[in-house]
Each structure stands twice: as C-alpha cells, then as structure tokens.
Amino acid sequence: MSGSRVAVLGAGIIGSACARELVRAGLDVVVVDRGGAAGATTSHGEGNVLVSDKGPGPELELAQLSRRLWPGVLAEAEERTGSARAAEWEPKGGIMVATTEAGARGLADFAAGQRTAGVRIEELDADAVRSAEPHLTPHHTTALHYPDDGQVQPAGAAQVLLGEALARGARLRTGTEVLGAVRRGGRIEAVQTTGGRIEADIFVNAAGPWAGELSRRLGAPVEVHPRRGEVLVTAPLPPTVFHKVYDADYVGAVGSSAEETQTSAVVESTRAGTILIGSSRSRVGFDVRLRPEVLSQVARKALTLFPGLAGASVMRTYGGFRPYVPDHLPVIGADPRLPGLWHAGGHEGAGIGLSVGTARVLCDLLLDRPTEIGAAPFRVDRPAVLGGAADASAQGA
C-alpha cells in the first residue's frame, strides 16, 4: 500500500487530518478543494474538542481517541513546522449546567452513563461553581465539570494539520472542483475536475456537508446533508467566561433529528477576548440567509446562563453548515459500491474535535491495520448512509 496515490477531496479539517495521517504512513497524497483550504465549514464553527456532549457509544469512543491524539499531533506538527500555535489549543474544560429540576435529573443519568465509559466528570457545588464561573447564573440546579473538553481555533488547527502534510510532501490543489468519476473495471481510477483529470488509487470523500453532492457526482451517493448553525461573537470583554459552558439542553439538540430549528446555549471566550455564543441547528439546505429570530433565541438562552452579558455588544455573527447524517454517526470507511472510493465525514458539529481520530481510523482501515477503536459502527454500508428512496426524499436538501 505504501506509495499508493491518494486523492483527498476536501481541504477542510477532515481532509487536512486525513492527508497528514496518510502522508505520514508513506502514501503519495494530493488534497483537492474547489475553494481554498479551511474556508468553508471548518472556518464557520467554534472549534469544539468535546467529550462531554456524547453518551456512551461509538462516537464517544472516537471523541476519546481524538482527545488522546490531539496533544501529540500538535506537538509533532510543532516539531515539523514550528507553527502549531496557530491551532490555539486550549484544554480549558467544559461545564455543563442544568437550570431545572428535570434537567438536573436528565443530566445526572447522562453523566452516570458517561462515567462508566471512562469520561472524567466532577460535580461542582455552589462554591466551586462560583469560583469556576463567577458570572454564571446562581439559578442552576446542577453543574458538572468535564476537565477533558478543549477548544481550538478551527481554521488554524486545520492549517496546522495541512501544513504538516504539505511539509511532508503532500500536494494541495485549490480552486479545483470535482466534476465526476472515471471508472475502469468497476473501480474509480480518476476524477474529472475543472483543473483536468486527477488519477489516484484511492479517493477520500472529505467534502463535509457537500459530501452528499460530491458522492452523487461520483456515482455512489451517501446521505450527508447540511444542517445550519449560527454563532454570535461579542466585542472583546475582560475575562468573563472561563470554560466552555453549556446548557444540558445542548445534548438533546445535538441528538435531535427535528426539522424545526433547535437552539441551546453554548458560551465560551476566545483568546482574543471575544465571547462566542451558540448554538442553533436548522435543516434549511444550503440557505445562507440571516435569520434574526434564530439569533434572538440563541441570545435568550445564553442570557439564562449568563444574565450579566445582556449589555455585551454582539458585533458579528457567522453561520455554517454541519454535515448531518440521519443516524448522527460519522461515516468512515470504504464504499462497498465503488472500489477505490472512501468516505470520511458526517461528523455534524463535532468534526473539528473528531478529525484526528477519524484520520487515524481511516488510515488504519486503508492500510489494513488493526484500528484503535471499533470501526464497524462508522461503516458506509448502513441504511442511514446508503439510504432508501423514502429517506432521500424526506431530506429534500
């Protein structure tokens, strides 16, 4: 397998992480993107590296693997390129807050499950909450501290991963849109692009929320759809929020498949002093129109956690599209219908954090090595991914 040619389609964080992992394993890698690197979903999110928002199961295992890998990946990139600081890695920890009795009971059950799966969780009493987050509402019922939650500046992190891949010999072709597959003997042997034909032995679909469209162009459709989210950014403030703080509702919204817009509070500060406030989830296709009502809902929920932020000035908002799969699990593996085509995506809002673990699993599968976690739940050959006609029409994106 060493020396095989791999074309990674997509230069976001998933494509960048895959390129790095594959080139380290001795493969000959080209990364192709129709835009620039890290310019789409990767630069329109908060940079979550979370273990706290997942219940026991395969996605939590992938999150734990990724969390273990991140510090080493960044250290190695620093050694190679000296620029890993751009990732702004911040193992700041998360605090999950319930504000109702019912919410507290649900959170307790959820945390009990996580503990059995090895997630570190500390319950904070009132004093501990006050010292950890002095501006948090006193009207909370439970607050749990997840010391292993972290944050990166997502576009910076992607550039660090891609930068290392390029330093190790990978090539990058931006402004190159994939138009279709060239098959020979049932295998994909090349893609036609706006920049000509690109040949390879392996093609990795890492197109994020556009993975569905790309897979259709390649003739092997997978059910990956956009789910829109918005983030509010305040003007820089003196230190006010010290962890990633979110409402326990967040877990419910992440797991929901509802068509209507879901909002839940996620509040955190960045190194620049701005505060990022999320989050929303809307199934609106690739519609980029601003929805003030959604921003309003996000603001209301954030104020229930931090009433003191009412006077903070929101100076910017950005929205992006998460790659959504109907069963909420990533897709990592070979496409059974088209030999030579692989998929790495469908992480919804968790792709930044899950990128390095995903790349490791993909690389192990590709090289036929044992994987560090069970990879079967992520296989392409499952109904939610290959879909049925009914499922596809219901998405309508």
Binding site: A37, G39, A155, L166, A310, V314, F321
Partner: protein
C-alpha cells in the same frame, strides 16, 4: 386607499432627495438615519443641544438643505426615525417576494435600552453613503492621527479643536474642505499634502473639461476654500505624502516625503515636522454591508480602479433585487449633486411614480454627469500602486486587532493559508470592533497583490468572502437581541386627500438650475497659492448635453 410604503435608509443628500421624491409620487415614506438630524456626512448638523446660532457657518448650501429637510420631515405621509440603526436585513425566502425585512434598533447607540422593531416595506431605497478610506502607514494607529472624515465630524458635529499643529494629507478633493473646517474651528494647519502629482491631477481634471463644467457650475465654494488656505498662509503641496507618524504614545512628528506618480518615495526628500494631529484621507469606501445583505449584485460601477466595488443599478436606480433601489455614494463616489439626482430618481420610482415622467430625463442627465465626474475624480486622485512601499513588516494593518503587514502577507502567500476567511481568523485582521470597515479594502488589495492571479473562487453555498460581509450591520447588545422585535411604530393617520401624487407632482425635489453644486467630494480644484488650472473653463467645448435651462415646472 393604502399608499405604497417606501423605506429610505440614510438621510444624507441622496436619501433626503429620495424621501422627497417618493412623497411627491404619493408614497408613504419612512426615513431612517442613525444620526439625530438629517444631513448625513455632507450636511452634518450640530446637535440641537448646541443651539448653534449660525449652523451655516460650517455648512454647504444650508438654506436649500434646510428647506428640503423641513418639507420632508413635516410631510404628513413621512415618518422620520432619527437615532435609528438598521442592524440586519432579512431576505425573503424568494427574491421575487420583494425587499427584505428591515430590522432596526431605536435609540442612542450608547444608551442603555434601545427598542427593536421590524419593517417590511413595499420598496426599499438604500442611500447609506461612504466613509473615507485611509491607507495604513507606520504610526497611523497612534492617537492624534484622524481620518479626515472623523476630523470633520468632530469639527462639524461637535466643534472640537483637534490641534495646534495639524497636517492634512492624502489624496482627493476632500482634503480642502477638511482643512477649511479645521481652520474655521480654530486649529492651525501647517500644510495640506496631496499625494497625486500635479501632472496626474491636471491630466485627470483637464481631459474633458466640459464634464467638469457641468458639475462645477460655480467653483465659488472651491475658491472660498482656496482663499481660506491662502488667508491662513497654509501651503498646498502636490506629490507629497505623510509616510510615517512617530511619537511616544501619540502623534508627535510626521514624516513627509515627495512621492512619484506611483506614490513611491523619492529618496532624500523626507522631512520631519512636529505635529499634534494628522488628518488623512485616501478617497472613499462605499458602505456596502446593507446592499450585500439585501442580496444586491455588486460591480465596478463607474470606477476603472481594479477591485473597486459598488452597487450595480439600472437607469431607474433599481438594484438586482426586486424593489430595492440604491442612490448616492454606494453606486459610485460622485458627490452630493449626483447623489441628489440619483435619490430623486430612486425615490420617485420606488414610491410608485410614473417612470416616464419627463423630469426624470434631466435628473438622469445630472446623474450621468456625476458619474463622468466620478471617473475623472478616480483618475486624478488614483491611489498610487507603490504605497505598500511605505510599510514595514511590523506596520499595523488592522488597527482594532493590531495585525501586522507581515502577518497579512504570510497568510496570503502560504498554500494552506490562501483562503480569505481562514486567513482572517488566523491574522485576526478585520475581526475587531470596526469589522473590517477600515482595513477590509486594504487587506483585500494586499491579498490580491500577494496571490497574483486572484483568490480561489467562492464556495457554492457560502457567501463569497467580501470585505463588506457584515450580516450584523451594526453592533447590537445581547439583551436587545434577546427581545422580540415590536411591530414598526405606527404611522399617524393620513388624510385621504394626502394620498397619491398631488397635481403637478414632480420627482425633482429641487427643480431649479443647480447653481451651486460643489460637494465635499465634489470637484474641489485646489485653489492653492498656485492653482494648476482655472477651476472651470469659461467656454466648455462641445457639451454633450445642453445645459439645464431651468424651465421645469415648480413642485406643488
């Protein structure tokens, strides 16, 4: 009968004309401005609190402006929302459905509780204007360095004295009125530096003098400015620029140098001047966030400068979005007379006026003259391509975030950093409180230079990276955002007799010959101690259009 509702954003010369014309056409009009008084930057009024005895002292065309302002504001079909900011535009699901819903916040921006409301008009006229562009140079971020626009706002709006040793520098006709306002307010101006060489300015101005004559019907105001400089013995120098400001915590010295036509510094010509304030301007940037948020197509407009962007409009000032019109500097920086003409056309059509009304011809002609003028202005005062030579690696490009020239170049050059948005997050240039209004065009230009054949194409499904992309057009507090918006404050009752166009309705709010059109951004021929040429040729050869004959019917 329900009158058509036209919402006009911006109450400068363009917006005020639009409101007047839409009222003349019979529409119900809501006029919005963030200021407490109409006038925009051009006719910026002193706050009432100052009870200025002579507001005309630092004002152009005060009487005419005042009459128009009264007529619009007291009209029974007009609602005037002062101190109101449009913070977002919400596009309709289908563009054919018409203009976006306009989200506004009422009340002083620094007050504690602004109210939110929304309006969905039948037609929207955007006349939001421009702010002055400033190129970076070492030390430009120091306190004591003002954009000329900020300086003039302080002088006109608050009558502040900026300093006792002021240098006014940059390019374009805005230099003169700024210097004049400073002198009026009691500052001492050491010199006025126009970076364009005398030759470039003369070539731009003299190429087709008749176009100029049509715009600068008088030049009297220019002569006044020039006379003021002469009276105060303020030298006006061509081909010289402020290339650095130094000081310990604030501006103390300005380094000026002779520059060539491309604005490269002529070695050995540097001089150091002690200063306490420096006012700089390098032209104007149109405020495009609202047009962009409304979905309006942008294009080069009348400009031939690569990278310049304006709102694309047709002969009726209609943008690419149904029932959204644009007037004034956002369609091309052409000064107040053109803005007034564009506003009148836009307001008349947006208000449901007859698109075949004969008076529109004259208005369009004025507008076309304004655009021809804009092209000449751009030519005479083009920013020289070698200005980045003034920069050092550590020179601040983004004042809000302190991003350096070196960091912006590095982000544009590295293969993995070539995406504009990723570069913005990495360098933070443009992410600060001004949201790239100041540095956005500069960063875009530096990136264009670094990348040679242009940036990667935009990703379908995401808005193109644009220095004007600001979906939250004005900051809004989290607490204000959390409120549900009220329905727009109701209009007062409108008597039926006031609905619809009255007899003799006329789109031109000021249907007199334009005796006195010179604007701030108008054709201020520098009447310095040694003017390069007469302000306006006495006998323009072959005018392409007959001059205005002033026989139009009077309005109501």
């Amino acid at each position: 009968m329900t009158a058509r509702h036209t919402l006009v954003v911006g109450a400068g010369p363009g917006g005020l004309s639009a409101a007047a014309a839409a009222l003349a056409a019979g529409a119900r009009v809501t006029l919005i401005d963030s200021a407490e008084q109409p006038g925009g930057q051009y006719n910026r009024a002193l706050p009432d609190a100052y009870a200025a005895a002579r507001p005309d002292r630092v004002q152009h065309d005060w009487d005419r402006f005042d009459a128009l302002r009264r007529r619009v504001l007291t009209h029974p079909r007009c609602t005037w929302w002062s101190g109101t900011e449009v913070w977002a535009l919400e596009r309709q699901a289908h563009e054919a459905a018409g203009p976006p819903t306009v989200h506004v916040a009422h009340g002083p921006a620094d007050g504690s509780a602004r109210r939110r409301s929304t309006v969905t008009p039948d037609a929207l006229v955007l006349a939001v204007g421009a702010h002055d562009r400033v190129l970076p140079f070492p030390g430009w971020q120091l306190p004591g360095v003002f954009t000329a626009g900020a300086a003039q706002a302080m002088v006109k709006g608050e009558r502040v004295v900026l300093g006792n040793q002021v240098v006014v520098a940059g390019t374009g006709p805005f230099l003169l009125p700024v210097a004049d306002s400073l002198l009026e307010a009691g500052s001492s101006v050491i010199e006025v530096l126009e970076a364009s060489t005398r030759g470039a300015a003369a070539r731009g101005w003299l190429r087709r003098p008749w176009e100029l004559a049509a715009q600068a019907g008088k030049g009297g105001e220019l002569l006044e400015y020039g006379a003021a400089l002469a009276r105060h013995r303020v030298p006006y120098r061509f081909g010289r620029a402020v290339t650095e400001v130094r000081g310990d915590g604030r501006a103390e010295e300005a380094v000026t140098a002779r520059v060539r036509q491309d604005w490269s510094v002529v070695p050995g010509t540097e001089r150091v001047l002690p200063v306490d304030a420096v006012c700089v301007t390098h032209g104007f940037s149109p405020l495009l966030e609202l047009p962009l948020a409304a979905g309006c197509a942008l294009g080069p407009g009348p400009s031939t400068v690569p990278g310049d962007e304006f709102v694309t409009v047709d002969g009726d000032q209609h943008t690419s979005v149904r029932q959204v019109y644009a007037a004034g500097e956002i369609t091309g920086v052409a000064g107040a007379p053109a803005a007034r003409a564009e506003g009148a056309v836009a307001g008349w059509i947006a208000g449901g006026g007859d698109p075949g009304h004969p008076a529109l011809r004259a208005l369009r002609r004025k507008r076309d003259q304004g655009r021809a003028f804009a092209r000449r202005l751009a030519l005479a005062h083009a920013v020289g391509g070698a200005w980045p030579g003034w920069l050092r690696p550590e020179t601040v490009i983004c004042r809000c975030e302190g991003a350096s020239y070196a960091s912006v170049c590095r982000a544009a050059e590295g293969a993995e950093g070539a995406d504009a948005r990723a570069a913005k997050l990495g360098t933070r240039a443009g992410l600060g409180p001004c949201q790239a209004r100041v540095c956005g065009p500069t960063v875009a230009e530096l990136r264009r230079r670094a990348q040679g054949d242009g940036p990667a194409p935009p990703v379908p499904g995401l808005p193109a990276a644009s220095p004007h992309h600001r979906p939250i057009a004005q900051p809004i507090r989290l607490g204000e955002l959390a409120q549900a918006p009220l329905d727009a404050p109701p209009h007062g009752p409108v008597p039926d007799s006031d609905l619809g166009p009255g007899p003799g309705a006329h789109p031109d709010p000021d249907p007199h010959p334009d005796p006195d059109p010179a604007p701030d951004s108008g054709p201020h021929l520098p009447h310095s101690p040694q003017p390069p040429h007469p302000p306006h040729p006495p006998h323009p050869p072959h005018p392409p259009h007959p001059p205005h004959d002033g026989t139009k019917e009077k309005r109501q």
